[in-house]
């Protein structure tokens, strides 16, 4: 009999991913699929905002004040050019939402990245060095955890405002926000990585490396990082939801993105001021988009956590 099987090739990384437990779990879970779809749509909308928007709402020359406070297009008095209506400065709400979504996502991602970098570094340092350094880091982390995130974010924000001269506030707002939110959320990353580091540090290959005069750090990272990738991913996803919420809250409170560069939270704040005059669309539509975003991210994070949890497999 002739052997007609194919030559033995190792499947590509993509094929391995497709066949992995994670992918199978994903295909089975409708919450995972729906939330990922929603997130993709929102990301795409934010990414292509300049292409999808009908106007640039920050460009004053594009605004016609006569068109201000128009209701959504399908309601009497609306204008099909402004699909979701306009605000009191005649900015098209649909375009504002797209740009605002973009800002919210930028701040969200950047602050998560900052928190991850800070947290992972501190975790590695603390776990590797141990002793007083580790003790100090963990003590700070404990104190930080006992304070609600929004309070710390507000504090950092306030300090930044105090330090910067007032005319720079608006420009620096986005950086201040990223810094404030990033600095409050690093603790979970630090703890996870620290735990892994301390486990690896005991292992023989690290001791062997140290005897050889090689710093164990590089080799350790090679072993630690794959282990912590899963949990870090889960933390990052859940953190993204929290970061977006925190940014929205700060903007809503008036200490986040300014009205000249509004994020979704800022839009909601602006809309809130006009709630009683019956202009409900400026509040409702950005809120719907914000809630959809956070809900989708939370659902995905929940699913990811359960899927990657070794105890539930």
């Amino acid at each position: 009999m002739t052997d007609t099987t194919q030559p033995n090739t190792t499947p590509s990384a993509l094929a391995r991913l497709w066949n992995s437990d994670l992918a199978w779990n994903f295909r089975r879970s409708w919450t995972a699929r729906i939330s990922s779809l929603l997130i993709l749509i929102l990301f795409a909308a934010a990414l292509f905002a300049p292409l999808l928007a009908t106007q640039n709402p920050y460009d004053i020359s594009q605004l016609f004040l006569l068109d201000s406070e128009l209701p959504p297009a399908w309601i009497e008095g609306g204008d099909p050019r402004y699909l979701l209506g306009t605000d009191e400065q005649a900015r098209d709400l649909y375009s504002s939402i797209l740009y605002g979504l973009r800002l919210s996502l930028i701040v969200g991602f950047a602050s998560v990245a900052l928190a991850a970098v800070v947290g992972i570094s501190l975790g590695l340092i603390g776990g590797f060095l141990g002793g007083m350094v580790d003790g100090a880091i963990m003590r700070v982390a404990d104190i930080l955890l006992s304070f609600p995130a929004i309070l710390v974010a507000l504090l950092v924000n306030g300090i930044a405002r105090g330090v910067l001269p007032p005319e720079r506030h608006a420009d620096a707002a986005i950086w201040v926000l990223i810094l404030a939110i990033g600095l409050t959320n690093w603790v979970q990353y630090a703890r996870t990585v620290r735990g892994s580091t301390m486990v690896e540090r005991q292992k023989e290959y690290v001791q062997a490396a140290r005897i050889n005069g090689v710093s164990g750090m590089g080799i350790m990272m090679h072993h630690i990082l794959p282990n912590v990738l899963g949990p870090v991913l889960v933390i990052a996803t859940i953190n993204l939801g929290m970061a977006v919420l925190t940014e929205a809250s700060l903007s809503f409170l008036g200490v986040g993105m300014p009205a000249t560069q509004p994020s979704l939270g800022t839009l909601i704040r602006i809309g809130n001021e006009y709630l009683f005059s019956g202009i409900w669309w400026v509040v409702i539509f950005p809120s719907v988009v914000l809630v959809a975003l956070v809900l989708a991210v939370n659902l995905l994070g929940d699913w990811l956590r359960d899927a990657l949890n070794p105890k539930l497999r």
């Binding site: 104190i143 006992s146 304070f147 609600p148 929004i150 309070l151 507000l154 504090l155 924000n157 306030g158 300090i159 405002r161 105090g162 330090v163 007032p166 939801g241 919420l245 929205a248 809250s249 809503f252 409170l253 008036g254 200490v255 939270g265 909601i268 809130n272 709630l275 009683f276 409900w280 509040v283 809120s287 914000l290 809630v291 956070v294 809900l295 939370n298 659902l299 929940d302």
Partner: protein, 327 residues
């Protein structure tokens, strides 16, 4: 037990000192207080005189020491925004926040615990699934959106409840309360509902997961094997074990309520400490920010220590130092 208490108190003092340090640094390095206290045309001599009067020429640690001493008596100087003593401002606004937080905390417990028990005892019923879904949405909704929705429905469209302010308040000594008037009570409803929602979903989920875990234990199995009634098993044997961690976590979350009150007070224009803090952040009013920080930290530290003590009181395993083993 006493040793434990003393250790915790010492820890708390350290935390407070650290917080005071941050507050002090804020004062010292943000803005120049001298500039805001003298006229633009002041000479250097006059500035130096002011500097000396304010003690700004002393070494840092002396200034820090003085700061701590003054802070301990509640003196944080004058607000940069309206030149009133910070302690007075905080004292005026404290009752508003306190009442709001207390009502919200109470609501979250009174509703959250029974709902959590319900979802634990009937895990597959329709009401449980509905509640689970609502709790997931509840965690994802930004609190201010909930507040705005509440205002939209109950104030703008239905017109039942007020959307801003505290209503009529009555002064009882130093405290001003909204509990004693109908308008005060009505004004409390929407903000406290908004504030309690996040806490409520948290408690519900916590009670549910704790109780389900307790119901799987061997001692519950043994209680069933002894033929004890369902009522006793659920509400006597299981509940006590469930509530111990719940109460402690609730205590730790109280801090979150105080923080979220900031948003609630902004949405409902509630004249509390949180609203004051936001105005201070917006303006860069350092004395108010620093004082709020120190006050809130103090509250957190007190709550945390109380919770730890409470845990030791509630769980008999922690009460006796070491089990007295006898054969």
């Amino acid at each position: 037990m006493l040793g434990f208490l003393i250790r915790r108190i010492i820890q708390s003092v350290f935390v407070m000192l650290a917080v005071a340090l941050i507050a002090f640094m804020m004062f010292r390095f943000m803005g120049d207080p001298v500039n805001s206290m003298v006229a633009e045309t002041a000479t250097t001599e006059e500035r130096d005189a002011v500097r000396e009067r304010l003690g700004l020429d002393q070494p840092l640690y002396v200034q820090y020491g003085r700061f701590v001493a003054r802070a301990a008596t509640g003196d944080f100087g004058l607000s940069w925004r309206n030149a009133r003593p910070v302690s007075t401002l905080l004292a005026e606004r404290f009752p508003a926040t306190a009442e709001l937080v207390l009502v919200a905390a109470g609501l979250s417990l009174v509703l959250g615990i029974p709902l959590g028990i319900l979802t634990a005892l009937r895990p597959h019923s329709v009401s449980t699934q509905a509640l689970q879904l609502m709790s997931l949405v509840g965690i994802s909704l930004p609190t201010f959106v909930t507040g705005i929705l509440l205002i939209l429905i109950f104030s703008v469209w239905l017109g039942w409840l007020p959307s801003f302010g505290r209503g009529t308040v009555v002064d009882v000594g130093w405290w001003s309360t909204g509990f004693l008037t109908l308008s005060g009570l009505k004004a409390l409803i929407l903000p406290s509902v908004m504030l309690c929602l996040f806490q409520l979903t948290l408690i519900m989920r916590l009670v549910r997961s704790e109780m389900m875990e307790v119901l799987r234990t061997d001692y519950i199995k043994f209680a069933k094997a002894r033929g004890l009634t369902n009522r006793s098993i659920h509400f006597h044997h299981a509940l006590k074990n469930t509530l111990i961690p719940v109460i402690t976590i609730f205590g730790l979350q109280l801090g979150g309520l105080i923080a979220f009150a900031i948003i609630t007070e902004t949405v409902f224009q509630w004249p509390g400490m949180g609203a004051l803090f936001i105005q201070a952040v917006s303006f860069g009013d350092v004395p108010v920010m620093a004082a709020y920080l120190v006050l809130v930290s103090l509250i957190f530290v007190i709550i945390n220590t109380t919770v730890d003590l409470l845990y030791a009181v509630l769980d008999p395993r922690l009460r006796v130092e070491g089990a007295r083993a006898a054969h």
